[in-house]
Structure formats: structure tokens, C-alpha cells
């Protein structure tokens, strides 16, 4: 076990022990209560696929699944995930087989710089779970909480449409 916050001899930092199952593996760590789940994943577990694109819970780049639901992991404290199951972008593919959404993003050129992509894919996965056959309008509304600055969203919409088709 290791503490998240190193100190420089100026006094210890309070920490709480939590156990979180991430992509099927249980991790027990001592963390500061204020540590965000996004930083727990990135900095404690070294799962850097979850990206942080803002500090106001607006961009959606940090979206992961918490007990099966899409959440912005910058808006959840790590301690709130104690005992929970978390899936990140790293846990989506089955070995070398991409999920339909991942494959759709590749086939339809649904990404350019790739920074919003992990969050966008995790949101899309949750969208298709709720609505396996969404219309274009429903897709656009479903991803309106995730910003992308490169694609104009067109090929993201196409990618999600392709994933829905593949899922039938």
C-alpha cells in the first residue's frame, strides 16, 4: 500500500483506505479524502487513458463507468468509489478485440487528436446500453455532455451509428 501524496518532511497528510475494483482487478490504496477519482485512476493506478480536459465537470473527457453507469470521474471522489466497480477505457477491449464502439470510432474516423476520445467512447457505450438503436438526434443529444474540438462531431455520430448497427 502507498499513500498518494508524498510529503517533504513537513508533516503527514491524512489518508483513508479504499478498495476499488477497476477493470476487474481490486485495488486497495490509502488516499486523501479529497482525491478525485480521475486522479486516483491516473496517478495512483497509472491508468492514464482517462483524460482530464477541464476543472468544471463540463468536458466529459474523464468519463468512466461506475457500477455500470457513465460518470465524470473528476466529479467523484475516490473515496466515493470505495467498494465500487469501475471500468475505464483500458478495460473496454476484450483482449485484442475492440468493443463495437471502439471499432466504430476507428472505422468511421471518429477521432483526430484523440484527447476527448476515451471519455467520448465511454459515454457512447453507456448511451448504447440505454438505447441500442438511437436516431441521429438521440446520438447528438446523448453525447452533448462531451466536448470534441476536432471532428465537428460528424464522424463521432457516424461511429456510434456504426457501433449500434454492429451490435444488432
Amino acid at each position: 500500500m502507498r499513500a498518494y501524496v508524498e510529503t517533504s518532511g513537513k508533516g503527514p497528510t491524512m489518508s483513508t483506505e479504499i478498495t476499488v475494483t477497476v477493470n476487474g482487478t481490486a485495488h486497495t490504496e490509502a488516499v486523501e479524502p479529497r482525491l478525485l477519482l480521475a486522479h486516483f485512476l491516473r496517478d495512483v493506478l497509472d491508468l492514464t487513458g482517462t483524460h482530464v480536459g477541464c476543472d468544471t465537470s463540463q468536458c466529459g473527457a474523464c468519463t468512466v463507468h461506475l457500477n455500470g453507469e457513465a460518470v465524470k470521474s473528476c466529479t467523484v471522489f475516490a473515496v466515493q468509489a470505495n467498494g465500487a466497480e469501475v471500468t475505464t477505457i483500458e478495460g473496454l477491449a476484450d483482449g485484442d478485440t475492440y468493443s463495437n464502439v471502439q471499432q466504430g470510432f476507428w472505422d468511421e474516423h471518429g477521432l483526430q487528436c484523440g484527447f476527448c476520445t476515451p471519455g467520448m467512447i465511454m459515454t457512447s457505450e453507456a448511451l448504447l446500453k440505454q438505447n441500442p438503436n438511437p436516431s441521429e438526434e438521440e446520438i447528438r443529444a446523448g453525447i452533448a455532455g462531451n466536448y470534441c474540438r476536432c471532428t465537428g462531431y460528424q464522424n463521432i455520430v457516424n461511429a456510434i451509428g456504426a457501433a449500434a448497427k454492429a451490435g444488432k
Partner: protein, 794 residues
């Protein structure tokens, strides 16, 4: 995968790592002993620093050191300007302010701590005592008598006065038949908002005295050069790495204060340091774009002939000169004021003005969107004034198609294009006649429907170095490439430009594959590491393929020439009769005499049987400096519907016909066009940076700024014409910025068209619901007043 061809939509080789969370961006760099930086930034638009108390911060948990601007004044030097203009005022630009802060977010101190949380905690403990000064944020107001002054070097806050033109506008409008239409056009300030903010990791090698900067940049080689010039750090001891970069759009095209500070602080504390910009920080500390206030005139005759355009522009520079700031509102704007039209008389004056705002520099399109918006808005405005169809007026004034150079009024030489061809194709896809009928019907039903046309041409593929240098460039603008074919026939390619979403790894490999017949999976494209690859100027101005791709193409021709000679020698055949296709050399008419390029590469390294005088190995380098810029052009058509009761504008249809010259990977080019158009629509309908008069930024988050989300756009309909560019050997023009350039005038022309029957003639961007609703109410009120006046007159 297999051998790729030019013009094929090859799926991106970058994507497998990016869709699985295995990309490596700056924030993913972890080094042993790495400390974290956080900046203390000005909370005022303009203030003198009376004192900075850092003792509480120094004693906070985890804090290693705190440096103020005064502490590091000598080591940090001043940030450079990379583009000169005659009489340009260059006030000092310290990376950390030490006497005066001149914009909200100007950094005054930096914290070094064990963790990012601790560094940010300590920021709150630094007490800065400010003497608040009057501020000015508006580029025109700042030049007036009595306005607050930012720099003693720049009286009246004027950084430069610049002009360009051609013909004689003043003389031409003396003709009594000429109608002059005037409009004040504001091109609002934008904030680029790449999804990955900026960030830097500085790794100081205590033993060797070397510094490595991992930085989210579009220009690793220039960051290295400029960092070395600014700090005096020997260039051979500076390495800059741009890892995966999460978007840039121009905003990562400069040497930034934080890059310099991180390098110097790493040396001070003898530990690697990381700084990751928060989004809130990005809103004030990363360069903004646009911000023009312009008095424009267009002059023409009743029959639709346009005789000229006049522009008097206040270009807001922000508080300091960012690296390329002087270039953007001058050459990249003024030279484009003829658009795709004959435009025989052009008179353009530009005043670059310092204000208490974040520095302004290139943002996607950089000067060209401002020019295209102005020209296209004014052409439509003129058509409305003389009561003619905007398409008729455009067609009447368009340049004829040309294939190899056409000099225009501003003195530049457009390379190739079929401007009417673009317009015709767009109209064909769109069905303009049908739309006008639908529009009349919609108006009868009380619906507001409008169509906007925008044509454009843009200057990119930068640049002929000698031309750029004569205009003020501080660096050559060529590109280079290195093609190394290994003994096994696989290849490593080094390029000088590096991507931030454009897919260089795919397109450059595709070019190699199509030329050499090597399967695409056997080709590795390296970029972005100054110790590893070729020098290059960077990725901006839609130049990577037009300049860097051309450099690569030339290296590939050298590889082909050498392997052809070697293969002929090995096949014991006259080179005249040795053909090369799909990676195989063959002797004409002799079926079994063949060698693959992989076999020839092996022989080049085995060196057992080389022709006389041939050196062993198979590696070629080329530098390419174009003779002219490349000039993409096109026609975009947009349809909007406006909700009467709310003023909400919805883009219903968007058609784009672009001439990007030859297209290497259509899928990638289409994707860039989508993104560009979306940014243009964003400017037209929602985005704007808003400052209070005292320099506070009101639009300081993604939602306050109104960054467009997916529900704002229709499916765009794209098509192309192809006029290969004579400026480079592969005939490409560049596609990164076109969409942004064409989209904002197309949308705004549509908005005004939807309201034209109410008497609306112009509206500044963004066409928010409130602004449109007010315009509708004002127009209706004016109509009521006019009717009342008419009744009274009876």
C-alpha cells in the same frame, strides 16, 4: 493492411493506441522524483505589484520552492517575437511579471511542490499586494487620448501601423456611378480550446547539464530554438519532445512563459517538474484569436460590378506580443482582401493595439477567416444594397479559372483554382432555385429561413522562406525529411512537422507506401522529438503535407533513383528497361528477372555488389522550400432557420465544395473539413470571449464560452474540385483551416438573409438567440414606425 495508394482513405495507424487509452500526452509522462508546478496569476487586468509574500506558501506541506518574477528575472529573459514589421514596438515580455501585471492571468510566481494538489494549495497562500491600475480591453478605445497606457514603448498602445493595397481606391470611388456601402464589422475574440490544455514536463540532467522539455506544442523544433535563444541554454543541450498532442488550432504555436519557467525551475530544484494547465487557467493564459474592430467599405456599380474594398482595422494584440502576433492581422489578413474576385482596388490599414487582455495570436485560419468574413459579408451586403442576388454578384466578379499562377491586386500569386467551378458545383448539390421557392413559402407561413453563400481563398503551405523573410519572418519556413529503409526493407521516416490530430503517421506512411511499394505496416513515422528527427518549422498554416509532404516525396524520389540503379545493376539490365511498380523491379519482357525493393534494400546494406561509386546503405534526406504558397479555395452554402419567438438559429443544411488540390487521404481531409466548419459555425452562433471593462474574463469556462456541442450541427455535405497546386511536387494545397474560414461568413450571410425582408442588413457574430431576437424586434418596430410615418404623411 497492404501497400497504400495516393487518394485512398487509409484508416489511421494512430487510432489503435488512442481508442484503447494508450496514447501518451504530456500529462501521462511520469519521471522519477518529479515535482509539480502551479502558477500564481494576476487577478486583475492591470496592476502594479507592490509586494509578494511567499513565506506561508514556502512552509506549506510538500512545497519545495517558490519563485517570484523578481527571483528569476535574469534567468528567464524575455519572450521573443518571431515576426517583424516596420516600426514594430516590442515591449519586454517577462515570463513571470515582476513590476506590473498587464492582463488577467499574467503569471507572477511559481510554486514547486511534491504533488499537484500541494502546489495548487500553496498558490492560495501567496499574498500579492497589487496597486490596481485603470485597464482598457477594447482595441479601438485603447488608442484614444486618455486611455490607460500599457507600455511606455508603445504610445497610445499602438504596437504597429501597417498598410497594404493595390489599385487606387480613393480615385476609383470618385466615379459618380459608384455606390459605396459602409459597415462596421466586428470579428469577436475567440478562445481556441484544444481539448488537451497545454502542459510541460522539464527534465534536467544534472550531470550533463541537458534539459529535456516534453511539451504540448505544434512546433517542437522552434520551441527548442527559441528556448535556447531566450535562456542562453546551449542549443545542443536542449531537447524538446512533443508527444501525443491533444489539439492545437494555432494556440500551441508559440514559445510560452511556462515552458521557459519549467526549464529554469527544473535546473534550480534539480528535479524533473511538471506543469499541466487547468482549463480555467487555459482561458486566460493560452493565446486567444481574432478580435478585430473594422470599418469597412465596399464600392461597386448598380450592375453588380465590384470596384474595390477599403478597410480600417483595429486588431487587438492583447497585453504583449505573442510569438507570431504581428503576422496574423497583417499579411495573413490584408493580402486576402481580394478573395476570389477581381477586386481591382484595395485599401487596407491595420492598427495593432495593446490592451489589458490575454495575448492574441493565430487561431485556426489566423487572419484569413477575418478577411474572408469581411469580404463575404461585404459582398452580400453590397448585393442586398443594389437589390441583386448574391450569387449573381459573386459570379460577375469572380476570377477566371487558372492552372499556374494568377497575380492579384495585393501582389500575391494565387497558384491554381476554378472558383466558378466551385460555386457551380455547390449550387448544383444545393439546388438554389428550389431553396428560394421554399424560402418564399416558409415566409408566408411565418417561418424565417435563410441561405448564406461564402466563397474563400486562403494563403497556406507556408512558405517560400525568402518571401517570408522579406516580410518579417524570423525563421526559414522550409521542411525536411529523412527516409531510412532498413536492410529488411522496412522503413523509418523522420519528419519535421508533428501532428496534433491531423494523422501525419498515417498520411506520411501512405505517401511512402504509395511511392516505394512498402506495406504501410512496415513503415514507422517518427516526429516531434528534436533529438530523433529532422529539423522542421512545425505544423501550422495547413503546411504539413504541402511543405513537409513535399520534402518527404523528394526523399522518396532519391530512394527510388538509388534502388533503381542498384536493381538494374543486380539484374544485369540496362536501367532503361528496368521498371518499378508495386515495390518490384522488373526487366521488360523478361518474366523471371525481378527484385523486390526489400531485396534491393538488403543488397544496399550487404554492399557486396554495388555499382561503381555507389555508397552503401539506403537513407536519403531532402529539404523542401516551396516557390509559392498553396491556395485552397471553395464555396460553402449554409441554410439556417430562425425561431421567430426566441431568435434561436438552427443550421439546417451545410454544403461545402473545396479545392484542396490533390487529396492524399480523403477520409482525413473530410474529417478536418468537418472540424473546421464546426469551429466556424461555433464562431458564428455561440463562441465569444467577453471581458469586463476592467479586464475580468466573463467567459471563463467551456459552458460560459459556449463551446459547441454535438447537437448544434447538421450532417455536413462535402464535395471537391481538384486543381493541383503547382507549388509542390505532389499538387496538394492543405485542408486544415478551410472549413473555419468559409463557415462563419456562410452562416452569418444565411442569418442576415433570413431576416433581410425585415430590413436587417448586418449583425455581428455570434448570432445568439438574444441578439437575433432583439434584431427581429427592432426591425419590426422600425417597420411599424415607417408605416405610421407613411399613414401620417397621407
Amino acid at each position: 493492411m497492404a501497400v497504400a495508394t495516393f487518394g485512398e482513405s487509409v484508416k489511421r495507424t494512430e487510432d489503435p493506441r488512442l481508442i484503447t487509452g494508450r496514447g501518451k500526452y504530456v500529462d501521462d509522462v511520469r519521471l522519477t522524483g518529479m515535482a509539480h508546478l502551479a502558477f500564481v496569476r494576476s487577478t486583475y487586468g492591470h496592476a502594479n505589484i507592490k509586494s509578494i509574500k511567499t513565506s506561508a506558501a514556502r512552509n506549506a506541506p510538500g512545497v519545495i520552492a517558490v519563485f517570484t518574477g523578481a527571483d528569476l528575472q535574469e534567468e528567464l529573459g524575455g519572450l521573443p517575437v518571431g515576426w517583424m514589421l516596420p516600426d514594430l514596438k516590442q515591449p519586454p515580455h517577462p515570463p513571470l511579471a515582476y513590476e506590473t501585471v498587464r492582463y488577467l492571468g499574467d503569471a507572477v510566481a511559481v510554486i514547486v511542490a511534491d504533488s499537484a494538489y500541494q502546489a495548487n494549495d500553496a498558490v492560495e497562500l501567496v499574498e500579492v499586494d497589487y496597486e490596481v491600475l485603470p485597464a482598457v480591453v477594447n482595441g479601438e478605445e485603447a488608442t484614444k487620448d486618455g486611455a490607460p497606457q500599457l507600455h511606455e514603448e508603445a504610445p497610445n498602445n499602438i504596437g504597429f501601423d501597417w498598410e497594404v493595397g493595390g489599385g487606387d481606391y480613393a480615385e476609383a470611388i470618385k466615379d459618380p456611378d459608384v455606390i459605396v456601402v459602409k459597415e462596421r464589422i466586428v470579428n469577436q475574440r475567440l478562445i481556441p480550446n484544444s481539448m488537451e490544455t497545454r502542459g510541460v514536463v522539464a527534465d534536467y540532467d544534472v550531470g550533463k547539464g541537458n534539459i529535456t522539455l516534453y511539451t504540448s506544442t505544434q512546433i517542437p523544433h522552434l520551441v527548442k530554438l527559441l528556448f535556447s535563444l531566450v535562456t542562453g541554454w546551449p542549443e545542443q543541450k536542449v531537447r524538446v519532445i512533443a508527444p501525443d498532442v491533444g489539439g492545437g488550432f494555432g494556440s500551441k504555436l508559440y514559445l510560452y512563459a511556462e515552458e521557459v519557467v519549467a526549464g529554469i525551475v527544473a535546473r534550480q530544484v534539480k528535479r524533473p517538474v511538471k506543469w499541466i494547465e487547468s482549463r480555467s487557467e487555459a482561458y486566460v493564459s493560452t493565446a486567444h484569436g481574432r478580435d478585430h474592430i473594422c470599418d469597412a467599405e465596399i464600392a461597386g456599380k448598380k450592375d453588380g460590378e465590384i470596384i474595390g474594398i477599403k478597410v480600417d482595422l483595429y486588431a487587438n494584440l492583447g497585453a504583449y506580443l505573442s510569438t507570431f502576433a504581428p503576422l496574423i492581422p497583417t499579411y495573413l489578413f490584408g493580402l486576402m482582401l481580394g478573395g476570389v474576385y477581381k477586386m481591382p482596388n484595395i485599401d487596407c490599414k491595420v492598427h495593432g493595439v495593446f490592451t489589458n487582455t490575454t495575448p492574441v495570436d493565430a487561431y485556426r485560419g489566423a487572419g484569413r477567416p477575418e478577411a474572408a468574413y469581411l469580404v463575404e459579408r461585404m459582398v452580400s451586403r453590397f448585393a442586398q444594397e443594389i437589390g441583386r442576388d448574391p450569387i449573381v454578384v459573386r459570379r460577375k466578379n469572380m476570377l477566371q479559372a487558372h492552372k499556374n499562377g494568377r497575380e492579384v491586386t495585393t501582389g500575391v500569386m494565387y497558384d491554381s483554382g476554378d472558383y466558378k467551378g466551385n460555386l457551380n458545383k455547390a449550387l448544383e448539390i444545393f439546388d438554389y432555385k428550389q431553396f428560394r421557392a421554399d424560402q418564399r413559402a416558409a415566409r408566408r407561413d411565418g417561418k424565417l429561413l435563410g441561405v448564406g453563400i461564402a466563397t474563400y481563398i486562403e494563403i497556406c503551405g507556408m512558405a517560400p522562406s525568402a518571401v517570408a523573410s522579406s516580410l518579417g519572418a524570423g525563421a526559414g519556413l522550409w521542411e525536411s525529411s529523412n527516409v531510412r529503409v532498413h536492410p529488411t526493407g522496412k522503413a523509418t521516416i523522420y519528419i519535421g512537422t508533428s501532428p496534433h490530430g491531423q494523422g501525419h503517421e498515417t498520411t506520411m506512411a501512405q505517401l511512402v507506401s504509395s511511392e516505394l511499394g512498402i506495406p504501410i505496416e512496415d513503415i514507422e513515422v517518427l516526429h516531434g522529438d528534436t533529438d530523433q528527427g529532422q529539423f522542421g518549422t512545425g505544423t501550422f498554416g495547413s503546411r504539413s503535407l504541402a511543405v513537409g509532404g513535399a520534402a518527404l516525396f523528394n526523399s522518396l524520389q532519391k530512394v527510388k533513383a538509388k534502388t533503381h540503379r542498384l536493381a538494374s545493376h543486380l539484374l544485369e539490365a540496362d536501367p532503361k528497361f528496368v521498371t518499378f511498380s508495386n515495390g518490384t523491379f522488373a526487366v521488360e519482357d523478361i518474366a523471371d528477372k525481378t527484385l523486390t525493393i526489400q531485396e534491393v534494400a538488403g543488397q544496399a546494406y550487404a554492399a557486396a555488389n554495388l555499382p561503381d561509386g555507389m555508397e552503401p546503405g539506403l537513407e536519403e534526406v531532402s529539404f523542401f522550400d516551396p516557390q509559392n504558397f498553396a491556395w485552397p479555395n471553395g464555396t460553402h452554402i449554409c441554410v439556417v432557420e430562425i425561431e421567430q419567438d426566441t431568435g434561436k438559429v438552427e443550421v439546417q443544411r451545410y454544403v461545402a465544395v473545396d479545392d484542396f488540390g490533390n487529396v492524399l487521404n480523403p477520409m482525413i481531409v473530410d474529417g478536418m473539413t468537418h472540424g473546421g466548419v464546426a469551429q466556424g459555425i461555433g464562431q458564428a452562433l455561440s463562441e465569444q470571449a467577453v471581458y469586463t471593462d476592467d479586464g475580468q474574463l466573463l467567459s471563463g469556462s467551456l459552458m460560459d464560452y459556449a463551446l459547441p456541442s454535438a447537437d448544434m450541427f447538421p450532417m455536413m455535405e462535402l464535395d471537391r474540385t481538384v486543381s493541383p497546386s503547382p507549388s509542390n511536387p505532389i499538387g496538394v494545397k492543405g485542408a486544415g483551416e478551410a472549413g473555419t474560414i468559409a463557415a462563419s461568413p456562410a452562416v452569418m450571410n444565411a442569418v442576415v438573409d433570413a431576416l433581410a425582408h425585415l430590413g436587417v442588413k448586418h449583425m455581428d457574430m455570434p448570432a445568439t438567440s438574444e441578439k437575433v431576437w432583439r434584431a427581429i424586434q427592432d426591425a419590426k418596430e422600425a417597420q411599424r414606425a415607417a408605416r405610421a410615418t407613411a399613414r401620417a404623411a397621407k
